[in-house]
Symmetry: D3
Subunit: 238 residues, 6 copies
C-alpha cells in the first residue's frame, strides 16, 4: 500500500513542537504534524466556573477553532458547530485526565487550540500541543505566582488518529487518507500507556472486533512516540 507521502503504515508524519511562541499567554506552543499546524495557548484565570463548588480545586477547559482559510474551502468565521464542540470537549477531558485539579488550586486554565492550517488530525494535534501549553502555564504559576512547588500533573497525555484505508490500518492520517477512510479512530492515551479516550467511528463500514484491536495497537505505538517528543521539548518540566 502506498500512502500519499510515502510513509510506512505505522509511521507518524514529521512532528515539530515549538514552545513559547507568543508574548501574551502564560503557556503556548505551535505544533506541526506534517501540514497540520495548530497554535495552542494556555490562559490562567484565578477563578473557577460558577457551577464548581468551593473548595473543590481547579479546572482545565479547552476551546477549538479553525481560521477561515485553514482549510481548502473558506470556513465562515465565528461558528462553533457540532464538530467543533465535540472536539473541544474531547481536548478538555484529555487534559483534565492528567491534571491533579485539587493540587492546581482554585484556578481555571483555558487551553485554546487554533488551527492555522489543516491537513487531517487537528483534534489529536490539539491534545498533544495543548498539553505542552498547559505545562508551560503550570510552570508559570509555579515560577511567577508560587502556586505550588510541584506541577499538578499526574501523567503526560497525547493523541493520535488511526484509520482503515483500503482495508489497511494506518497511523496518523492526512486529510486525503481521512477522506477515504472506512473507519476513523482517535485515541488519547497517557505517558504510562493508559487509555483516556477511544473514539472509533464507522459510518459506512461497520468493522470487526479484530480490526478494532489492530487499530488500538497502532494508536498506542503512535502515542508513545508523541509522548517522547513532548518529553524532549518540555525537558525537566515533566
Amino acid at each position: 500500500m502506498n500512502r500519499p507521502d510515502g510513509r510506512a503504515v505505522a509511521a507518524l508524519r514529521p512532528v515539530k513542537i515549538t514552545r513559547s511562541v507568543l508574548m501574551h499567554p502564560e503557556g503556548s506552543c505551535l505544533i506541526e504534524m506534517g501540514n497540520t499546524h495548530v497554535l495552542c495557548t494556555a490562559t490562567v484565570e484565578e477563578t473557577v466556573p460558577r457551577w464548581m463548588r468551593e473548595g473543590k480545586g481547579g479546572w482545565v477547559t479547552a476551546e477549538y477553532g479553525m481560521l477561515p482559510r485553514s482549510t481548502n474551502e473558506r470556513i465562515q468565521r465565528g461558528r462553533v458547530g457540532g464538530r467543533g464542540m465535540e472536539i473541544q470537549r474531547l481536548i478538555g477531558r484529555a487534559l483534565r485526565a492528567i491534571t491533579d485539579t485539587d493540587a492546581l488550586g482554585e484556578r481555571c486554565i483555558t487551553v485554546d487550540c487554533d488551527v492555522l492550517q489543516a491537513d487531517g488530525g487537528t483534534r489529536c494535534a490539539s491534545v498533544t500541543g495543548g498539553f505542552v501549553a498547559l505545562v508551560e502555564a503550570m510552570d508559570w504559576l509555579r515560577r511567577e505566582r508560587n502556586a505550588f512547588t510541584r506541577l499538578p500533573l499526574r501523567d503526560l497525555v497525547a493523541a493520535v488518529s488511526v484509520g482503515v484505508v483500503q482495508n489497511q490500518p494506518v497511523l496518523d492520517l492526512c486529510y486525503a487518507e481521512d477522506f477515504e477512510a472506512q473507519v476513523d479512530m482517535n485515541v488519547v492515551a497517557t505517558g504510562r500507556g493508559l487509555l483516556v479516550e477511544v473514539q472509533g467511528t464507522a459510518e459506512g463500514f461497520p468493522f470487526t472486533r479484530q480490526r478494532h484491536e489492530e487499530m488500538l495497537d497502532l494508536a498506542m505505538s503512535g502515542v508513545k512516540e508523541l509522548v517522547g517528543i513532548q518529553r524532549e521539548v518540555l525537558g525537566e518540566l515533566v
Copy 2:
C-alpha cells in the same frame, strides 16, 4: 457488588418498545429502558440536504432533545449544547451505518429522539428506539409511496452503555451508577455483531487496555439482547 436495582452486572434494565405511538409521524416508538423513556419519531421528506450532490441517494439524520423536566433539575428549553450535538451526531451516524442510502432514493429521513424521562443511557436508548422508528418510516415509504419493494436496510443496529463502577465493569448504567462511574463507554453495534461506534471516556481514571476489552465484551452481549427485542417488535419487517 450491589447495583441500585439489584441487577446482575451483565443484565440490561427491563426494555419495552411500543410501536406507532403517534398519529402524525411516518414512524414512531416509545422506548423504555428502566426509567429512561425516549419518544422516537421518523419524518420523511422528499428532498435531500443542499450539500448532497444529485444522484447520490438519500440521507438519514437525527435530532436529540430533552424535555425541561426529563431530569431532576429543570433544563432550560431550546438549547442544544455541546453534549446534545455530540449525541445527535452519534445517533445519525449509527442509523446511516445500516441504511442503504442509495436504495433509499433522494429522500431524507429525520429521526427525532425526545427524552421524556432520563435515568442514564438516553443516547443509547435513542439509537435503539430510533432504529425502530426508522424502519417504520421505511415501511411507510414502501406501503404508501411504493418507494421500493425491499426496505433499504443492511443490518439492524442498537446501542448500550457500559462503565466501570467500583472497579467492576457493569452493563447499561442507570443515572446513579453513571454519576459515579470511573469509565464510561457507549457502544453501537449491528445485528451481525459488527462495531459501528466505540466511545470510551475516562476523565478521572485512565484505564488499561485489558479493562477496555472487558467492557467491549459486556457491551457486545448487551447489544445482542437489544437486537433480539427489536426483531420481536418489528416482526417481519426485518
Copy 3:
C-alpha cells in the same frame, strides 16, 4: 351540521387526565383531549424572578413547546415564535389568576406544557392540564416542605375553545374544524364561573355582538365540564 367525529355542537372531545406520570417533577400530568395530548409538569424553585420585589410573595409562570412531530408537518426544534410566546403568556396568566401568590411564599412554580400530539386546542388543554400539575406541586410543597397547611389556591381554572364553523358555533374544535373556522375564541374561566381570559379573533369574518354572546355561553358550559373532571382526578386536593 356534521362534525368530523360526529360530536354534538356543544360536546367536548373525550377528556382524560393522568396524574403523576413522571418521576422527576414535583407535579405532572398527561392531558388528552381527543387526539390532542399535552404533557404538563410543574417545577418548584425556591427563588423568585429578579424583577420581583422582596416580601411580595411568589410567582407562577409557564412555558409551552411542541415536539417536532406533534404536528403533521415537522416543526423546527427550539424556536418559540410569536404564537408560542402568546400561548405561554396566556397559560401563565390563567394559573396566576387562581393562585394566592402571597400564600405561596417566595417561590416560583414553572409549569411546562409540551405538546406530544396536536389536533387543535393545545393552549386550552395546556391550561386545564397545567392546573393539575400546579396543584400537585403545591401539594408536594405542603407534604415535603411543610410550606403551608392549605394549598395557596383561590379557585380552579380550565380553558376551552369555541368557534364558528359553517355559521354554527361549536365547542372544543379539532384541527380540521379550527382550520376552517370563521371565528376562533379561547376562554379561560374558573370553577366559580368567573372569566379570566376572553380571546376572540376573526381575521376574515368580523362577527356580531350576538354571535359573541352565543360563543361565550358555549364556552362557559365547556369549562364547567372540564372543572368537573379536574375535581375528579384531584380528589380531596381541591
Copy 4:
C-alpha cells in the same frame, strides 16, 4: 370616581391624527391619543411572503416597536419580546380583517407602528393609526401604480382599551389607570360595528359575565367615535 385627567368614564382622550408626515413611506400618519404618540407607516412591496401560494392575492402584516425612551424607564433597543410579538400579531389581524386581500393583488403591505411616547393604549392607537397609513398606501397604489380603481377595503377598523378601575368600567385608559386596573380589555371593531378582536384579561381579578358585557358596551362606543375621526382625516378615501 375621578380619572387622573378629569375625563368622564366613557370619554376618549383628545385624539389627533396627522396624515403624510414622512417623505419616504407610501403611507404614514402620526396618531396622538392624549400623551400616547405612535408613528405609523405603510410600505408596499411587490411580493408576498414565501409561504403564500401563488394566485392567492396579497397580504398585510404589521410590526410594532417602542423607542428606547418612549417610556419612563429606558427600554433596551432591538428586542421584540413576547408582549411585542403579541401586539404586532394583533395589529396585523385587525388590518387584514378589513382588507380585501384578493383585490389587493400579489403585494404585501407592511405597517410599522413605532411608539414615540407611551402613556397607555399603544396597541389600540397602533391599530387606529395603522389603518390610516394603510389606506394612504392603498391610495398610492391606485394613483401611482394603477393597481386598482377602488381601494381594496371592506370596512374601516379601529381599536380602544377598556378596563375596570376601582370597580368602575372606564374607556381608553392612560398608563396610570392601566397600571392599577383589575381587568384590561382591548377591543378591535369595524366601522359597521362588527367585532374583530376581543381580548379581555384579568390576572388578579376574575370577572363576571355582566362586567364583560358592560366593558364591551363602552368599547363599542369608543370605536365608533374613533372611526368618525378616521373618516374625517381620510375624507373621500373611505
Copy 5:
C-alpha cells in the same frame, strides 16, 4: 455647480432644533437638517458600566437607530450592523470629548439618536442634536437632583459632513449628493474650534492632501454655524 436644492457650496441646509419634545426622558430634542430628522433623547442612570473602576467619575454613551421607513427602502427592524455600530461609537466619543466626566459623578448618561427621516448626514445631526439632549439632562441633574452647581461641560460640540461632488467640495450633503460623492468626510469639532474627529473616506477616488485641507476648511465653518444655533436654543445653559 448646481446643488439639488439650489444651495451655495458652503451653505448648510435649514437647521431647526426643538427642545424638550418628549415627556419621559431627562433631556430630548428633535433636530431637523433639511429633510433629515433625528429624535435625540438623554437618559440618566445612577450607575456606571461595570468595566469602569470606582471613583473614576461618570460616563456618556450613545445609541443610534433608524426607524424602518426612515429611508426610501424599508430597513429590517432591530439590527445594528457595522455601519450603525460605527456611528454610535462616533457619537459617544464626540459627547465624551466635551463632558467633564469627573464632575458628572458616578452616573451614566445614554443618548439615543433615532432617525425618523433620513436624507443624508444623520450621524452629524445626531452629534449636534445629541449634544442638546445631553445638556438638558445635565440641567435636569442640577435642578432635580442637585448633582452639581455648574454643568459638567468643557465646550460645545457639533458635527457636519463635507464631500467632493463633481470635483467640488460641498458642505452638508443631502442623500442624493452623498450617493455620488467621490470623497466623504465627517468632522466633529468644538465651540472653540478644536477638532474631535476627522473621518475622511474615499473608496473609489483617493484624494490629494490639498483637497483634504479644503474640505476641513469648509467643515470648520459649518460646525461654527451649528454651534451658534445650539447656543441660541440652549440659551443660558451653555
Copy 6:
C-alpha cells in the same frame, strides 16, 4: 521624549512581511510590525455578493479577527463587536480603493486578517499585509485561471497609525503608547501619495488644526516607507 523601545518619533517598528505562508489560500502573508503579528489570507470566489448587480464587475471585502490570546487578557471567541466591524469595513474600503473591480471580473476576493499577537496598530498592519495577500490572489487568478493578463490594480496601499503622546506626535504606536495617547489617527494612503482614509480621534483631548497637519505629515512618510517594503516583497508583481 523616550519611546518604550527607544525609537525616534518618526520611526516605524521593524517590519517583516513573509509571503505564501499557508498551503490552502490563493494568497497569504504574515506581517510583523514589531510585536504585532497578523496572518492575512485572500480567498477567491467565483461569485459576487447578491446585492451587486450583474455586469458590474467584482468585489473585494475583508474580515478581521483576533485570536483569544493575541492580547494580554483573553478575548472571548467568535464575537465581532463594534470595534471589529469598524476595522474590517476600513480594511475592505482600503483594498477596494486600489482595485480595478471592473477588470477583476465577476469574482469576490475576501481578505481575512487574523491577529496572532497584538501590540498596537493591528488595523494598519492588516491593511498593509492584506494588500500583499490580495496581490498574491490576483496573481493566482492570472496564472491559474487566465483571468487577466495585467493585475487589476490601480496603485499600492498601506496604512499607519500616528498619535500624540506627551504632547509629541509619534509614528506607529505600540500598545503602551496607544493606551496613553491624547490623539489617535489612522491613515491609509496609496503608493502615489493619495489619501484613502483619514481617521483622527480625540476623545479626551480635542486638538488644533495645526496638530492635525503635523500628524498627517508623519503618517504620509510612514506609508511611503511601508509601500517600499511591499514593493520589495512583491517584486515584479507590482
